[in-house]
Subunit: 374 residues, 2 copies
């Protein structure tokens, strides 16, 4: 047991002085940390080789494979963090939700949850306890990955409650998530039940990764951008806050021993939502320590709107990864310059690595960021 | 010839005192005008009956059918304006671009324009002159529609240059329009050629509708929301401005006779871009008289960001069309209240009518808006 928190013992201090962890805590170091959303998978030939003939979810649930994919981009690019290789639907699947990933389409749910009755059934059958019982492949993969990663932090991964709930209501990917957005108004009580359940699953999924060795987490909200700020605050933010607060309740085991804080050190969290330029202020109210910004909003503008209170992550436009090197370099320099406005900066793309990306472009970005004069 | 402008004679004065035209000019009247994007088509049974067994583009190019579909929602809902029934790809098709509408997918281009050479070929083969030669079905449909509409204004329709260009570069619908956004950085000169050409096609398409009887126009940018504000200003706004300025050069024939302006009266324009909350200030620089706001940004906030300078159109959330009546009513009242901040307000949805909408909900919105106390 952790004496500071009464919960289970947590991450040891091997990553607490890393550039990533410090940046999320608002501390600038000798260089700006950099990692890439979706760095694990997609564009890497060594990933494709490993995936050949194997289902995505099967790879997520095979500890050796998931750990290997998680570590590949750290070896290749020299990024400052690994991100756990998983999928937004993994905690749902482990909780017993019937869902399949269909190539070229995305997750497809056999039984969409569209009514209060559907949601009650889901909550009764696909419980947090059931998720907990099935988490062994996840925690084992995290252990294997962090064993290799050493002092390089692993970022735990989970989809935000709105994204999970929207998938469940729609039954799969959808444009503008109309059915989900209708339900939050048509039956706010049922919607609250659904998102509270999703928040708990996401929270437990992240907690398990931290307890197994992840040094930080990122909550990914793929679809919050479809919401008005009022809807986000009323119908979504409470659930995302719940997920992040579950992680905020965790502390590094030997935070005091590390000596650069007098308080027990919370496990740092990053909150990222795609297309959320209009939601930035509301994202700042949801208990994340750092805010991820997509490619549409310049970091200096985001910083102003957030009152200068948050370390920012982002926001190289993935479209520039295919542009000539001089344009990409200039853009990276711009992002670094704009990031100087924030208390601290973690360089990332403004969205996931596109599958057709030349991995060398990513390696080049890491080198450029690391050699930038601060 | 129009004595005021030296151009062809334009719309007569039958709609210049309409609530829609006045609102776009910033003048509030006895009631707030209301119409719905995609009101022509989709949700109406009388439209579906007419479309049975017929291709969408075939219907767009059959004057009697296009005029009929254009007028249907005015008859049914009592909206304050018709919007011309067409499709974003129609001017491309009329200019000779090989493109088909594929059901369930959208427009598919046999020959995507991805290089400077592709774009040069496109500009050489698919010219504005070729578009002009093929506009008869459009102008005839507008004439038929406006004959029926009388004092109800017809809003001309065209897709914005970025949306057209993105389709052409991608070869069809795409997420985040990555190839198009890459091209604008990789070869800004070729991109500028492409968007200038698209701007000219859109401008001529709108001009023809106005010269045949449309009283106002709306430029629809479905995809501008994927852009950062810098990219929008540098690589897209000049083209959209060009399209709108072509229409701004047109004036009502008997504007002076109408007596409520001493200046020749420009044909009013509405500029709408989906997901453009982060682009509002930049949209205010592109020569539209009124700005359409999608459902994500409250109108009072949009008005503040636009410096109170623009009549605003919007922004009922389409997701509320399926919610219980009391929620929908409350939302419509909110939109009306928020719209009071702007110099004038045109009620609309924040995006197109979803196909599954019950038409009676739309009729109910019109009644509620018209009976609202100002």
């Amino acid at each position: 047991m952790n004496e500071l928190t009464g919960s289970h013992p947590l991450v040891d201090g091997r990553t607490t002085t890393s550039s990533l962890v410090r940046a999320i805590q608002g501390v600038r170091g000798a260089h700006t940390p950099v990692w890439f959303m979706r760095q694990a998978g997609r564009s890497l030939p060594e990933y494709r080789a490993l995936r050949t003939g194997r289902d995505m979810i099967e790879c997520c649930l095979d500890p050796a494979t998931a750990a290997e994919i998680t570590c590949q981009p750290v070896r290749r690019h020299g990024v400052d963090a690994a991100v756990f290789f998983s999928d937004i639907i993994v905690p749902l699947k482990l909780a017993g939700v019937p869902v399949e990933l269909v190539a070229g389409r995305g997750p497809v749910f056999a039984e969409p949850a569209r009514t209060a009755a559907d949601i009650a059934t889901l909550r009764r059958e696909c419980t947090v306890e059931r998720l907990r019982e099935n988490l062994a492949p996840i925690t084992e993969a995290v252990r294997l990955a962090t064993d290799e990663l050493g002092s390089t932090p692993l970022i735990g991964f989970a989809g935000a409650p709105f994204t999970l709930a929207a998938y469940l209501v729609e039954g799969g990917p959808s444009k503008d998530h109309m059915r989900a957005r209708t339900l939050m108004h048509a039956d706010p009580a049922a919607w609250a039940e659904l998102t509270a359940w999703a928040a708990e699953l996401s929270g437990v999924f992240l907690e398990a990764q931290v307890q197994a060795g992840a040094s930080a987490v990122q909550l990914f909200d793929s679809w919050a951008g479809s919401l008005s700020v009022d809807d986000y605050r009323t119908h979504v933010a409470p659930a995302s806050r719940h997920t992040l607060e579950r992680v905020n309740a965790l502390h590094y085991r030997d935070a005091e021993a590390e000596g650069y804080t007098a308080q027990p050190m919370q496990v740092p969290t990053i909150h990222f939502a795609v297309g959320s330029g209009h939601l930035l202020e509301a994202l700042g109210e949801t208990a994340g320590h750092a805010i991820g910004v997509d490619w549409r909003t310049p970091l200096n503008e985001a910083n102003t709107r957030l009152g200068g209170r948050f370390p920012l992550q982002g926001n190289i436009d993935p479209a520039l990864l295919q542009a000539p090197q001089t344009q990409l370099d200039a853009h990276v320099d711009d992002v670094l310059a704009q990031g100087e406005a924030a208390p601290a900066h973690i360089v990332n793309l403004g969205h996931g690595v596109p599958p057709e990306t030349d991995p060398d472009r990513l390696t080049g970005i890491v080198e450029r960021v690391h050699s930038a004069r601060l």
